[in-house]
């Protein structure tokens, strides 16, 4: 591995000449951590805006939902909390999209809380500034739809659209999945193995290969996630002819729900491999987890929507409000 000069790595490498990869990532994360700042004193600001990072996120336990806080520390996830008289009154977490591709950069707000409108406006102003620094041109949001939803009203009044949509996620219990006929009839086979059997370089090679083929699952930062992000015993790989041909990666959320973050296979038999991977993962889950354990399946593209329809024909995603606006980049 070539030596890297830490000073030469910009905080936001996507705008520089440095390529964000495994070698540069530790420096980027270290700088990101160091940058978490508060509003300087004496600015006359109503709220104190805090940038979230791995070091301070625990102080907002109970305010930022645990499964949302789980994203903080990942390379493309950011968050702000607005403090009024030292009490958190507003917060938001967003994800940057298309940061490693030659596409228009986007931000997607995943969580927003606006208990105090003035503080929320100051927080949004900081958000806009950060997007400007990142060269983000479009900002969107995706928040759970409730009959009374002040966050939606807040964003709508600030130029975001507001449409009702169906969420991509469906949640099924382990028991429900184990009872799917297709899985009952399937044998996982010797080729389906636990992720723990892969050494680090084999896993990295498999993830890079999947990524080159466009399979990132839910994660733009898939190749940067630490190995322990995945549940190694229940996540599965499919190895045939000395090649990893499929991966099913599971992440355990703080709420104890399990989320499938990647389910991909390559080759002409990819459909059969996907089912075998599911079978192995569900078998190992039932040894380690109760049958009530909830599993989140994200139907983020047409293929996964079709798979969801086949496996859970009567399940619908939750309603969400979605909207977007152009930013000043």
């Amino acid at each position: 591995m070539e030596p890297i000069e830490a000073q030469s790595i910009p905080f936001r490498p996507w705008d520089g000449e440095i390529v964000l990869d495994r070698k540069t990532l530790p420096f980027v994360l270290a700088k990101k951590k160091g940058e978490g700042s508060k509003t300087p004193e004496g600015t006359g600001a109503y709220a104190d805006i805090v940038e979230l990072n791995e070091d301070n996120i625990a102080s907002f336990e109970g305010f930022v939902p645990a499964d949302i806080a789980d994203h903080i520390g990942r390379v493309f996830f950011f968050g702000l909390v607005a403090m009024v008289h030292d009490v958190p009154s507003c917060g938001m977490v967003w994800e940057l999209l298309n940061m490693r591709e030659h596409k228009e950069k986007e931000s997607r707000i995943l969580w927003l809380k606006t208990l105090d409108e003035e503080a929320a406006d100051e927080m949004l102003k900081r958000y806009e500034g950060l997007l400007y620094e990142d060269g983000v041109k479009t900002s969107s949001y995706l928040i759970p739809a409730e009959p009374v939803c002040p966050e939606k009203e807040f964003l709508e009044a600030r130029g975001f659209g507001a449409d009702l949509s169906e969420g991509d996620e469906i949640i099924a219990s382990l028991k429900q999945i184990r009872n799917i006929q297709l899985l009952k009839k399937t044998q996982a086979g010797r080729e389906s193995r636990p992720l723990s059997e892969l050494n680090q370089s084999e896993l990295e090679a498999a993830l890079s290969r999947m990524e080159k083929m466009g399979f990132r699952g839910l994660c733009d930062d898939l190749i940067f996630l630490p190995r322990m992000y995945f549940e190694n015993e229940v996540s599965s790989c499919y190895v045939s002819e000395d090649q990893i041909q499929g991966l099913l990666l599971i992440h355990r959320l703080p709420s104890s729900r399990l989320k499938i973050v990647l389910l991909s296979a390559v080759g002409k038999d990819y459909n059969r491999i996907l089912v075998k991977l599911m079978k192995r993962t569900m078998d190992s889950l039932s040894e380690l987890y109760s049958e009530d354990t909830e599993i989140i399946i994200d139907r983020h593209n047409l293929a996964t929507l079709a798979l969801g329809e086949k496996l859970f024909p009567n399940e619908l995603g939750k309603p969400f409000f979605i909207g977007s606006r152009k930013e000043k980049a």
């Binding site: 009702l164 969801g308 619908l316 995603g317």
Partner: protein, 100 residues
Amino acid sequence: MKATKKREDDRLTVAVEGSIDVKSAPELKEELEGELEDISELVFDLTETSYTSSAGLRVFLGAYQTLSKRGGKMILKGVNPAFYDALEMAGFTYFLDIER
């Protein structure tokens, strides 16, 4: 899936026979193209619809968005119990106008 359209002034009724799934939903979406521009009320008559999946719901929501931006209205009529239960469980019955 077969969709039959009936226009009465600014009201369009689309009666759907068969199932609306990931394969047939694009056909239903195509049937609606250009039809929503000058109507104020859209009724999906689902009395003869045997099954509706997420893909079908997404077509309804697309039409709902188009109409609600203009202050129009969308009604789902004749919704079968299984689909109604799924809509209710997910939380869509708060937002959509549904007649069983």
